[in-house]
Structures are given as structure tokens and as C-alpha cells.
Symmetry: C2
Subunit: 333 residues, 2 copies
């Protein structure tokens, strides 16, 4: 096996602020009190689902900037992306902020990818303050990838619920906060999954590949971390990940593993089948609960692995598989 490049950030890029903004359903879940703002209206006062997603995304970005104490003109770069075609959720969100923009695409792994690109720009000493962000919206995602909401399609038990949510961090070369100390950009894994209603199965092999490469590359073990947090594998994907790591790699992460898709909703009460998903799911959980607990000292060192399924609305109809990708960020308090 090729030795993957672990990104070690010697400059220790620092998350000096973070914000998470969500929709009504996410606000009613177990993390409700963690979020900076909850839009009670699914359309967030806009005319379309797409505009609503942009509105929520902008709210997270502007709140993160405000909490950092900086102004827009102090921010050198926004690194962001989303699930909408041509990343328009992001583009229309930030177009009037006057901040340079690096668009990234990693499907639901985008929060981890944007943090890694932000940390890389800090490490290269090309940026002082950057924003890393992402968003998703249940209604814009359903409309685009699956069925019109009005159709009332039945969701199989493996299906996940795309979170209406956005997360944003300000990453700086100085200041107080959680440090991005290392990471690993993932390699696409294609196990031939063709069920567009089972994203967990599509993403679990990628998470397995990235986690095992990182642990081997850094010669660390699961118990060295307070948490190994995947993005949005949900119930089905989590079970697969634990099994794959155990059987293929002899790595047992069950004692420290959690998944943002399992945390954001009450799986018994909120009718979300296999759990939450979408770029905003891990974005909002990491940018609220997780970073707060790190700042308060409850969690000292964690691995956050964003997980993405690389499909479009067209690709499954052309019998293409759903390849997965997973990007890993090591965060230290």
C-alpha cells in the first residue's frame, strides 16, 4: 500500500470562532440548545429552498466572523462548498461579502475538506484569517437528488435525513482556540454500491480507508483520541464502518466512535430512519457541540472524518456506482 501523505500542520492553525445555524427539525433535536440560531421557517424567509439554503449558510458564515471579533475585510478567504448543483448554495450565500472565495467540493465531507484547505493556506503563510464552511438543506436536497417533496415518496430504512444546517469556523494563524494539528485528504473508494438510498454503505469503506491510513501513518491507536467522529454514516454506515475496521484492519474504534448523523436527531422520535446526513449535518455538529466541548476541556484530542458520497441525480440513473470519500482532521484543544 502506498504511504499516504499525512498533512502535519506545524503552524497549528487555530479555530478562533465557530457558528452553527439550523432549521426547525434540527432545533427540536437533542442538540437544539447548542446551535447559534434556529430558523423556524423552512424557507428562512426566502422564495425557494435553494435561496433558503444560501440564507442559512450566510447566517453561519457571518456569525462565525462576528464571533471572531474580526470584520469581513480582515478575512482573507472563504473556503466552502455544498451539495447543490454547481455549489450555488455557497455562491449565492457569500457573493456580497466581498471576500475571496475558494470553492471546494467533497459532497458531505465538505466541512472536513474546507477545514483542511483553510489550514493548508495558513500553513503556507498565504492567509491570516480564513473561513471554512458548508451547508445543506433537506428540501433543496430532496428536490434535487430524489423526488419532489409533494410526491410524498416512501423512504427505505437505510435512507438518511439531509440536515437543514450550516457550520462555519474562522481559522487563524494566531489567537485562542482549538488547533488543527494534522489531517489526511482521502482517496475515492468505489465498492460498487448502486443504491442511492444507502449512502452509509457507500461512505463507510472510504471512512475505513482514511481512518486506518491515518492511524497507521501516525502510529497512533483509537484510545489515543477522546473521540473518533465520522460525518454522516448513520446507523447503517456506522455498523459497516466498525465491522470493516475490525475485520479488514483489526482496528476497534467502537469505544470512542460517534457519528454526527447519529447525534443531530433523536432517532427514536424524529422519524429520520438511518440518521442525519448532508454537508451541514457534520458542519453544524462540529461547529457547535464538538468545538464547545473541546474548548471546555471535556474533549482534548479528536479525529473528525467528513464522509461524502460522490453521486449526482444523473449518475445512478446511468447505472454508475456511488463512490465514497472521507477526509480526516485532527483537532486538539
Amino acid at each position: 500500500m502506498k504511504k499516504e501523505r499525512i498533512f502535519v500542520f506545524k503552524t497549528k492553525p487555530t479555530i478562533i470562532s465557530h457558528a452553527a445555524v439550523v432549521g426547525k427539525k434540527e432545533g427540536e433535536g437533542p442538540m437544539g440548545k447548542e446551535f447559534d440560531y434556529i430558523f423556524e421557517d423552512s424557507k428562512a424567509g426566502q422564495d425557494s429552498w435553494e435561496q433558503s439554503e444560501s440564507r442559512i449558510h450566510r447566517e453561519a458564515v457571518t456569525r462565525a466572523i462576528k464571533k471572531s471579533g474580526y470584520k469581513n475585510e480582515d478575512i482573507d478567504m472563504i473556503i466552502s462548498g455544498d451539495l447543490l448543483d454547481q455549489c450555488t448554495g455557497t455562491a449565492f450565500s457569500i457573493k456580497d461579502l466581498g471576500i475571496p472565495f475558494t470553492g471546494v467540493y467533497g459532497a458531505c465531507s465538505t466541512m472536513a475538506l474546507s477545514m483542511l484547505v483553510a489550514a493548508t493556506m495558513t500553513e503556507a503563510k498565504l492567509c491570516t484569517n480564513t473561513v471554512a464552511a458548508t451547508s445543506s438543506h433537506f428540501c433543496s436536497a430532496e428536490k434535487q437528488f430524489r423526488m419532489p417533496l409533494e410526491y410524498g415518496g416512501q423512504r427505505p430504512p437505510t435512507a438518511q435525513w439531509t440536515a437543514t444546517a450550516s457550520g462555519a469556523v474562522v481559522v487563524s494563524d494566531k489567537g485562542k482556540g482549538v488547533k488543527i494539528t494534522s489531517g489526511l485528504i482521502g482517496t475515492i473508494q468505489d465498492m460498487g454500491i448502486t443504491d442511492a438510498n444507502n449512502m452509509g454503505a457507500a461512505m463507510a469503506p472510504a471512512a475505513c480507508d482514511t481512518i486506518s491510513k491515518y492511524l497507521k501513518g501516525t502510529k497512533t491507536k483509537p484510545s489515543d483520541y477522546d473521540m473518533i467522529l465520522t460525518g454522516d454514516l448513520g446507523v447503517v454506515g456506522t455498523e459497516l464502518l466498525l465491522e470493516l475496521l475490525e475485520k479488514q484492519e483489526s482496528i476497534d474504534i467502537s469505544g470512542v466512535h460517534n457519528d454526527c448523523g447519529l447525534m443531530i436527531y433523536d432517532l427514536n422520535e424524529q422519524d429520520v430512519n438511518s440518521g442525519g446526513s448532508g454537508c451541514g449535518c457534520s458542519g453544524a455538529v462540529v461547529c457547535s457541540n464538538i468545538l464547545r466541548r473541546m474548548e471546555e476541556g471535556e474533549l482534548k484530542k479528536i479525529l473528525f472524518i467528513g464522509t461524502g458520497a460522490l453521486l449526482s441525480a444523473v449518475s445512478p440513473l446511468q447505472s454508475e456506482p456511488v463512490p465514497g470519500i472521507a477526509h480526516l482532521v485532527c483537532l486538539e484543544a
Copy 2:
């Protein structure tokens, strides 16, 4: 005006190889002899336009790697993206190469953006060899953004022809070749353009903003460069750019300006209206003719400004404007 961050690459990331692969029409144009490979079949032997784009993209990436003398396992990262929904042109292209993947989205500016992110990873000393690439395909783009080809829709004179093309470079921290010495990541400009058949007008203000910020930030003038090359403004956008720079910024680049969208086709003979466009247009022109002329000493120092229009198939139907973005790369022989 906020002073934009000019990215100055002290490590001088080097383009050690490049490849350009195109379709039949591009092969019949004035650059025909420059390209590494021409697919005579629009479907490139595949079953769909989308798969054809992925095939062409993969051909450019694998040819660039082969020409570098390295093997896949020596490449630390592919940085790439395209115009297809969820960047599936790229994902399905490279999924079996076993190389870590950073997905970027900059619409038709993607070649410049991927080169800048590659150079940033080199500058941060996180990668040794990276691939920066992009692609577009006339048929997959028409199908997705405009009309089914079979409809035979009339194209207004302002419309551009999406190039069936892909370009790729291998960027290394050592070796011989053209250097990426500096750059500027652009800021979204929204002038309220709503005509999805006039991308040149949507992108020209962004090119104007990026070029003037870079020239002012580096205290250089147009005559310091052998060429100021925009991505795909075409006839309409080029005229607007020259006028905007002259009137708003008192900068005259007319003596050194060219545009990949004006170079890739014979505008009199090939029925492409306002010229070429698409990520692959500037990708293929830069990764063939331009880099060859730099390597041969004809061009010593150029600015390449990738230009992108940030729309989806949905956004114009929702009366959204078409914001533009432009990313600049300074290349030195």
C-alpha cells in the same frame, strides 16, 4: 478598497509536465496540432456524454502523470473539478487511480483554481507532486445547462461553445519547467447579469476586478507580462473586459491580452458564435500551446486568469443573477 492577499509562492512550484486532450471539433481548430490526443468520437467510446467527459478527463490526467516520469503512487494529490452536477465528471474520471482527491469548484475558472490550490499545498510543504486538472464537454454541458441536443435550439450571437476538452499539469516541488510564482484567488462579482446565454458579460467584471487588484498589489503594469490570458470571455466578454479595465481602472491590457476562448476555435469557420468556453477550454489551451511556448522561451512571464460564471441550471429559472469569479496565476519560464 481592501488590500487583497497576493499569494506569493516562495518555493516556486514547478509544472514539470502537462497534457491536453480534446474532442473532434477542437482537434479541427487552429490548435489541433498542439493537443496530446484527440477523441474523434464525441462519446469517446462511452455510453453517455457524462462518461465521455470522465474518459477525456482521465486521459489528460494519466498522460500528464506519464509525461512527468512519475507513477500514480508518486502523486500525493489530484486537485480537480468540472461543470457537471456534483463534479461527477472528475469523480468518475479519477476514482480508480488510487490518488488522494481534493475537489474544487470554480466553474470555468477551475484550471486556475486547481493550479493555485496545488501550488499552495507545495508551498505548505504538505505535498511533493500534485496533479491540477479540469474538463468540460459540449454535449454534457448543453444537456445539463441548456437544451437537449436533439431539440436543435438556436444559439444567440453572445453564446459560447463549451469545449470538449481537458487539461492537466503535474506540479512539483522540484524539477524543470514553468514556475507558478504568484497568484490571486478572486472575489465573486455580481453585476446583476441574468442572461444565461451571455457568460462573457457575467465573467468580465470578475476578470477586471482580479487583474486590477493583482497589478496594483504587485505594482506591475501590463507591459511587464508577455501575455495576459483570460480563460473564456469570448468576443463579447473580451470587449467588455478591455473597456472596464480602461474606463474604471485606467489600465490598458489590449497590447498583451488574449483569451483561450478566442484561441481554441476558428471563429470565422467553426460556427461557435462568441468563442469557446467551459473549464476544459482554458485547461486545454494552457496545458498545450501556452506552456509549450513558455518552455521554448517565446513567452517568459504571463498572467493566466481563469474566469467562471456561478450559475446552475436552476438558478436563472429562479431569477437569480449570474455572478462571476476570476482566479489569477502568474507563470514564469
